[in-house]
Symmetry: C2
Subunit: 330 residues, 2 copies
C-alpha cells in the first residue's frame, strides 16, 4: 500500500493509474490515499475547461496539452462527464484521445463519469487531481461536459477556468449565460473559422463589458464612490481553431499569465484556502450522510417516508424527528 | 399569516404570489408555509421540461400551457434558471411570457434563479410547486435551462419529464447524452421545420432503441433470462414547431397518457414515496449544515482551514476533528 504511494510520488505511471482507480472505486481508499499524499500536493496548476456540448472542448484540451508539453510541463488530463455514460460515448472519446496523444510519457489522461452523483464526482475529481499533483504533473486540465451547475463545482476546484464557446451556440440570450462569464478567467471562441464567429466574439465582449461595468458600479456603491483597490484580472476572448492548432498557443500564454497574476496578487493562496474550506465541508457532508445511514433505524425511516408521501406528516416535521436522533447538543 | 395560506388554498392569485415570494426569500418561512399547506398537496401533475439552451423550451412550455388550459386545467409554470442571471435574461424572457399569456387567470407564471446554490434552488422549486399544488393548479410545468445535473435534480421532483432537443444540436455524440434519455418520459424534437430535424429524430430513436435493448439485457441477466414483468412505458419522440403550435397537442396527449400509466402501474405512488424520501434527506442536510455553523467555533474552523491550505493537515483529518464536535453517538 505505502509502496504504491511511494511509487506515485516518483511519478511512476502505472502506480498513478492504479492509485486513481482505487480512488474512484472506494471512498474510504480515496480518503487514505489523499490523506497520505496530501503533503506533496499544492504544486500543480489546475485548469478547468468547460462549456456547452459540441464546442470542441476535447480537441482544445488535447491541443493545449501538446503546447504545454512543448514548454516542458508534465500534463494531466481529467475528462469529467457529469451525465451518465450508458452509450459508451466517453469511452469512444477516450480512444480517440489516446491515439492522438499516445506514447508521450509526460501526458496522463483519465476519464470520469458521475452516474448521477454530482457531489461524489466533484469529490472524486478533486482526489484524482491530487494524485496527479503528488505525482509531479505540473498542469492538470479538468474538462467537463455540460452547461449547468456541474461546471460551477468543477470550477471551484480549478485555479484557472477556461470557458469554451462555439459560433452559433452563443448567439441568443439564453445560451450566453451570465453565469458562465462569472466563472471564466479566459473565454475561448473555438471553431473560429465558422460563420458567425465574429458575432459570437462581439456578443461575448459586450457581455463582459456590461458585467465589468455592473461590477464597477457595485464596488462604487459599496465603497461610497471609491474604486476597488484589489488588482483586477481582465477576462479576454481568444479565438481558436483547435482542430488546426490555431490560437492554442495564445490560450497557453493566457493561462501562464493568469497563474502569474494569481501568485502576485495573493489570490492563489486565497483560492487555496477557499478550496480547502469547500473540501472539508464536502467531507463533513459525506460523514453526516453516512452517520444518517448508521444511526436511523431503516424501518422507522421507511414508515416516516410513507407518512410523508401520504400527506399525514410534512417533510419538515419528519426531518426534525430524524434530526433529533442524529445530532449532539453543542 | 394563516389568513394568507387560507387564501392560497382558495386559489387567490395575489395570495399565491405573496406566498411564493415568502418561500423564496426565507428558508424558515418556506418551512412554515410548506408544513402548513402540505396536507393539501399531492394532487397536481408535475411536469418537468428540460433540454439544452436554445431548444425552444420556453415557447413549448407557453404553448403547452395554452393547450392544457383549453382542456380546462389550471396551469402553473415555474421557469428555473440554474445559472445566475446577472444579465437580466430571465427577466426579459419573463416579460415576453407575461405578454403572451397575460390576462388568463388560470395560468400562473413564476421565474426562479439559483445564484449558484443548486441545492437551495431544488428545494425552493419544490416548495413553490407545493404552493401552486395547494392552490389548486392541476398541471405544474417546471422548465429548466441547461444540460447537466440541474435537470436531473429537477426531474427528481417531476412526475413526467419532457426532454426538448432541436435539430443541429443533437447530432453529435456529445450532445445527445445518454443521461438525458435516462430521465426522459417524453422526447420532443422542436423546430422540426429546420434542416436536420429528420436526422435528429432518427438519432434519438436509435439511441432509445439501444437503451431499451441494454435495459432488456440487464433485466435478463439479473433475472436469469426472465423478462421484466413490470409494465413498461415507451418513450416516444414527438416533433413540434412550438412557435406555430404544431405538435403541441400531441405532447399534451402524451403527458396525459403518462399520468394514466403512472397511476395504473402504481408508479405514481412509488415516485411520491421516492420524492418524499429525497425531500426529507434534503431538509436533513440543510439542518446539518446549519448545525455546523452553530456548533463550530469560527476561529477554530478558520485555523484548521488555513492548516489544510498550507498542507499541514489533510482535509479528511480536519473534517474528522470538526465532526467529532458535531454528531452524537448512536
Amino acid at each position: 500500500v505505502d509502496d504504491l504511494l511511494a511509487r506515485v510520488r516518483q511519478g511512476e505511471r502505472r502506480a498513478v493509474a492504479r492509485a486513481i482507480t482505487e480512488v474512484e472505486r472506494s471512498a474510504s481508499r480515496a480518503r487514505e490515499i489523499v490523506a497520505d499524499l496530501y503533503g506533496d500536493t499544492g504544486k500543480a496548476h489546475i485548469i478547468g475547461v468547460t462549456g456547452a456540448p459540441g464546442a470542441g472542448k476535447s480537441t482544445l484540451v488535447n491541443q493545449l496539452a501538446r503546447v504545454l508539453r512543448q514548454r516542458g510541463l508534465q500534463v494531466g488530463i481529467i475528462a469529467v462527464d457529469p451525465s451518465s455514460p450508458f452509450s459508451g460515448g466517453a469511452l469512444l472519446g477516450d480512444r480517440i484521445r489516446m491515439q492522438d496523444l499516445a506514447g508521450d510519457e509526460g501526458i496522463f489522461i483519465r476519464s470520469m463519469a458521475s452516474r448521477g452523483n454530482l457531489g461524489g464526482l466533484a469529490r472524486a475529481t478533486s482526489s484524482v487531481a491530487k494524485v496527479l499533483d503528488a505525482a509531479g504533473f505540473e498542469a492538470i486540465l479538468i474538462e467537463t461536459v455540460g452547461a449547468g451547475q456541474a461546471e460551477v463545482s468543477i470550477a471551484d476546484a480549478a485555479h484557472t477556468t477556461i470557458v469554451v464557446e462555439a459560433p452559433g451556440m452563443g448567439d441568443d440570450i439564453q445560451s450566453i449565460k451570465a453565469g458562465i462569464l462569472e466563472i471564466a478567467d479566459i473565454l475561448v471562441v473555438n471553431k473560429a473559422d465558422r460563420p458567425g464567429a465574429a458575432s459570437t466574439v462581439k456578443a461575448l465582449r459586450l457581455m463582459l463589458h456590461m458585467g465589468q461595468r455592473q461590477q464597477g458600479a457595485a464596488v462604487r456603491e459599496a465603497t461610497g464612490g471609491e474604486e476597488d483597490e484589489a488588482p483586477a484580472w481582465k477576462v479576454e476572448v481568444i479565438e481558436t481553431i483547435a482542430t488546426e492548432g490555431v490560437g492554442v498557443a495564445d490560450v497557453a500564454e493566457r493561462i501562464a499569465a493568469h497563474r502569474a497574476f494569481l501568485e502576485q496578487s495573493g489570490l492563489w493562496q486565497q483560492r487555496e484556502a477557499e478550496r480547502s474550506r469547500q473540501e472539508v465541508e464536502q467531507i463533513l457532508q459525506a460523514h453526516l450522510a453516512a452517520r444518517l445511514q448508521e444511526c436511523i433505524d431503516p424501518g422507522e425511516r421507511d414508515r416516516l417516508i410513507q407518512a410523508v408521501a401520504g400527506r399525514q406528516v410534512d417533510p419538515y416535521a419528519a426531518a426534525e424527528r430524524l434530526f433529533g436522533q442524529l445530532v449532539a447538543d453543542c
